[in-house]
């Protein structure tokens, strides 16, 4: 069982996620051109900017309020389903603020599942998110450190996202494209993978700095 996560730690993870999306948003939009309208990268960029603001200087002190604000402002990105789902996820995490990171992510996932019936295999962000959180849970339960656990989660998200390449979309706008969606990674799953890679990177940067201090 890892300790409960602090606001500073989570802010570091958010900074990592934002950096990861910022570096790859053009690639996300390109992926979205295959089965969508090519704006996914721009939407995700706006969403992570909102997350950064909520956790940035001048934001609320406590993690719960930060997450609530973050969820609300990501909902307000007006970027269609992607930003709404991400907003629900972060807003949902607020319910478990004060728990360890796994519990928070699980609460976010539970909130998400109230809004979408999409399951892993449907070629959506769930294909990366669900295995990432499962891997995190498994790592934490196995007694791995927070840094190791986040690394496992990022790896699982990456594998899950990559596996969407061979799936047929069954949710969202892309479902109307049917088999034409095969051969391309789902942009939503790719985003989640990048976010978890960013969480991993952000957390280890933070620990690196602390180690050097």
């Amino acid at each position: 069982m890892t300790d409960c996560i602090t606001k500073a730690e989570f802010a570091g993870m958010i900074a990592g996620a934002a950096a990861s999306i910022r570096a790859n948003h053009a690639m996300l939009s390109e992926l979205d051109c295959a089965a969508g309208d090519g704006d996914h990268g721009a939407t995700m960029l706006r969403a992570v900017e909102k997350l950064e603001q909520a956790f940035g200087p001048g934001g609320p002190e406590d993690l719960k309020t930060c997450l609530k604000d973050a969820g609300w402002s990501v909902l307000g990105v007006d970027g269609g389903a992607s930003s709404s789902l991400l907003g629900v996820f972060f807003g949902g995490m607020a319910d478990a603020a004060g728990n360890d990171i796994t519990g928070m992510f699980e609460a976010g996932l539970a909130a998400l599942r109230k809004q979408t019936k999409a399951q892993p295999g449907d070629k959506t962000m769930m294909d990366a998110l669900v295995p990432a959180i499962q891997a995190l849970r498994a790592a934490v339960d196995a007694g791995k450190s927070m840094a190791e656990s986040l690394r496992d989660a990022a790896a699982a998200a990456r594998t899950g996202a990559e596996a969407t390449r061979n799936l047929t979309a069954r949710y969202g706008r892309a479902k109307f494209l049917g088999d034409k969606t095969r051969g391309h990674v789902d942009p939503g799953a790719a985003s989640i993978s990048l976010i978890f890679e960013g969480f991993d990177q952000g957390f280890s940067n933070l620990k690196g700095e602390a180690g050097n201090a």
Partner: protein, 331 residues
Amino acid sequence: MKMKKFINKPENIVAELLDGFALSHPGQIRLVGNNLVARAVPKAKGKVGVVTLGGSGHEPGLSGFVGDGMLDVSVPGEIFAAPGAPRCLEAIRLANYGAGVLFIVLNHAGDVLSANLTMEMAKREGLNIKMTLTHEDISGGTNPEDRRGLVGFLPVYKIAGAAAEEGQPLDACFEIAERMGRNMRTLAVAVQTATHPSTGQPIFELGDDEMEIGMGQHGEAGTGRMKLKSADETAEIMLDMLLKDLEVKAGEELLVIVNGAGATTLMELFILFRRVDQILKGKAIKLARAKVGEFITTQEQAGFQLMIARMDRELIRLWDAPSNAPYFVVR
């Protein structure tokens, strides 16, 4: 092919188009709050408010139908993307004149998600609100959840808007919107793609000599890709599918809408409508009302949507009621 559009910065498209829309219709609409489109003069207290949401880039849909006799507030999203729940909630609060709010939602994943979140929040605030979903695109199959909301929003806005204007209570406005929804069917066809104005990317690909029946509002694939056909043949194929799906019988009265997707000319739309009318006459189906033009577009996409709706006396009366919405003026 390089995109050729008169825009400035891609990130300013929505704000600038809304500005221009409001400035050109000062007596009818205005922008309030976070870029919500509202009537210039709010409705009287004690009447039901009517609100909708939807992505931008489909002008004059959906905000062109805000006005006396139609919508109270519209929540425009980014290009082809639904607005989020926070602004929808703001719109619902604004349109609450004490008799509740009817929320009209077109069936698209992002819109429905935002609408469901909005409904949860509005109910938590104790707001009296009902949501009606339009899903009349028959290319989605037989499951209503898979049928998208296309130009059928127009009669639903008009009829529910007129009922609300008359002072009918929320339950009655909801019922009539649902009745309109159950009695309408749409099918779209595309012959040429549009470019996404923010990214400059084509939203789908279609061969030079092809057309696709069942194409969605954003280039989502349909059911039938085929060689390009003449206006008459295309109208015949599509109308036949619609009449079968709605199970229209001789003697019934229909509202017919031919909606241009953006690059298909009014000339073509009239030629198509001519054939639709001939076929209806041949089947002794009565044309109650007709509307030909651009009500919801997708940039320079070429193609059109054909909608039929079974009408009754009350629906026709409400369809004919006055409206000063910028793109649906009825005197």
